[in-house]
């Protein structure tokens, strides 16, 4: 378990340091309870404990109880949580409420873990092509995501407009993840 947590963290660190690149967690020792996908579950197990509060927006209650039981992380409102687990991209109220930190302490901005249908380096049907630029990206990088829309991304851009305030986004699908920290500029087009 201890060594899994270390390996999983290194995947997360690599992902956060290289926005837009797809990364995979290796299969967990314990399966995640549906509808929480593997990657979202691993993010929770790797980073949460009783010192940080989470909110599992729109997941069934059982998911939040599962997270608390396995990590000790208490629940909080979207405005107070350090970690928000979003079941899909329709939860704009949670994204609008999530804390973006203080100018003197921007690290207080929340980490948002958004679960998607699919993530891919190559085009997907009914998806968005997202292009990210910023620290960690050599020039620009495009990846493909289905289950995310313009409304979500526009609101995210809005919330990240006053860098260093902002939200750090981790997109997950199955055991795949892509990180979009607040330092990134995102553009997208429908495919």
């Amino acid at each position: 378990m201890l060594h899994d947590a270390q390996a999983d963290f290194r995947v997360l660190l690599d992902s956060m340091a290289r926005p837009g690149q797809l990364r995979q967690f290796s299969a967990p020792a314990v399966p995640s309870p549906a509808p929480l996908n593997i990657a979202s579950s691993i993010v929770a197990m790797t980073l949460l404990d009783s010192e940080v509060e989470h909110h599992a927006t729109a997941f069934p209650d059982g998911i939040s109880r599962y997270i608390t039981a396995n990590t000790g992380s208490p629940t909080a409102t979207p405005a107070d949580a350090a970690f928000l687990f979003l079941s899909d991209a329709t939860h704009l109220e949670a994204l609008a409420a999530a804390r973006t930190g203080e100018l003197a302490y921007p690290e207080l901005g929340a980490t948002v873990v958004l679960q998607l249908e699919a993530l891919s380096a190559t085009p997907l049907p009914n998806s968005l092509a997202l292009t990210t630029t910023g620290p960690g990206v050599d020039g620009a990088l495009t990846f493909h995501a289905s289950g995310i829309d313009s409304a979500f991304l526009t609101l995210l851009a809005n919330r990240n407009a006053e860098f260093p305030l902002g939200l750090d986004l981790i997109l997950t699908a199955g055991n795949t993840l892509v990180s979009i920290p607040r330092s990134q500029k995102l553009s997208w087009e429908v495919q």
Partner: protein, 294 residues
């Protein structure tokens, strides 16, 4: 026979308890998300002294795994006594492999140097930082420097550079040259020489900085713009040995140590111990070199 077990302790893998590791890991991710910004963290006491690399050690121990290959350098050298001490400690607490080869390491902990050899996507360089606050020389109070960073108000730093220029005809900043990261945060690159500063910008590897005593973690992700402060007419310059060659390898284009012999004559030797070994034993490893402006 009765054994006295009262004072015996068993330590967790990588010494730190899992809770502390998790806290440091959360802070590292935030540091990466806001490049150049100093994230406060718990910084528990370690069995080595404050100022001797505790911050670097916290980061290394929070991220290291059994599969890692570790290199530890101090002042560019694998042989420095403190580098040996830290390497032994980490090795003992993790059982990981160690190396002196800059190219073979997956994780390098360093004090005051970036290896000459180009680091790759597969590598993380962890800096030990004595004073993370680049503004400390112009503003002693933490709440005020925080405010200056919050408002991106760096006028005091610019003024101090300008005053040095007026007085001495140069910016007079030696090691720990102030840099601006991603066009936003001013950052101390830790006391690396100016020679290493250009290698912070647009690198392939991840740079993590740990200041244990001051309880701060910060980061420069790969492919991030890092600019040394300079004026249009007074440019940043790296150290210049005016074509002097290393006494052991007959080569230049590397940071040189000035060494005094018994009879007080001096010679210059390549500082990076592994780079020197490679220069003496085979082809010159790939380097990024900065040209001083004319």
């Amino acid at each position: 026979m009765i054994e006295n077990t009262k004072f015996q302790s068993a330590y967790n893998f990588a010494f730190l308890d899992e809770r502390t590791k998790r806290e440091i890991r959360r802070k590292i991710l935030k540091a990466v998300a806001v490049p150049g910004y100093q994230v406060p963290y718990s910084s528990p006491e370690m069995p080595i002294a404050r100022g001797w690399g505790t911050g670097g050690l916290h980061i290394t121990l929070a991220i290291i795994g059994r599969e890692d290959t570790l290199k530890v350098i101090d002042q560019g050298s694998d042989a420095s006594v403190n580098a040996c001490s830290l390497r032994q400690f980490i090795e003992r607490m993790t059982g990981c492999a160690t190396t002196f080869d800059s190219a073979a390491a997956s994780l390098i902990q360093t004090r005051h140097r970036i290896p000459e050899e180009i680091l790759t996507e597969q590598q993380i360089l962890v800096f030990q930082v004595p004073q993370p606050e680049i503004l400390r020389s112009v503003e002693r109070h933490e709440n005020k420097t925080r405010l200056m960073h919050a408002e991106a108000d760096y006028s005091k730093l610019w003024v101090s550079l300008y005053e040095a220029y007026v007085r001495y005809g140069s910016l007079m900043r030696g090691a720990g040259y102030p840099v601006r990261v991603n066009g936003r945060f001013m950052m101390s690159p830790s006391p690396i020489p100016r020679w290493d500063v250009p290698n912070l910008s647009g690198a392939r590897c991840l740079y993590l900085f740990g200041a244990g005593r001051e309880k701060r973690i910060y980061a420069v992700p790969p492919h991030t713009t890092v600019e040394p402060l300079e004026f249009e007419d007074v440019r940043f310059r790296v150290e210049d040995w005016h074509g002097t060659l290393c006494a052991y390898s007959d080569q230049g284009q590397a940071f040189l140590d000035e060494i005094y012999e018994e009879d007080s004559t001096r010679k210059f030797v390549v500082n990076d111990s592994n780079f020197l070994d490679k220069l003496r034993g085979g082809p010159r490893p790939p380097q990024r070199l900065f040209q001083n402006p004319q």
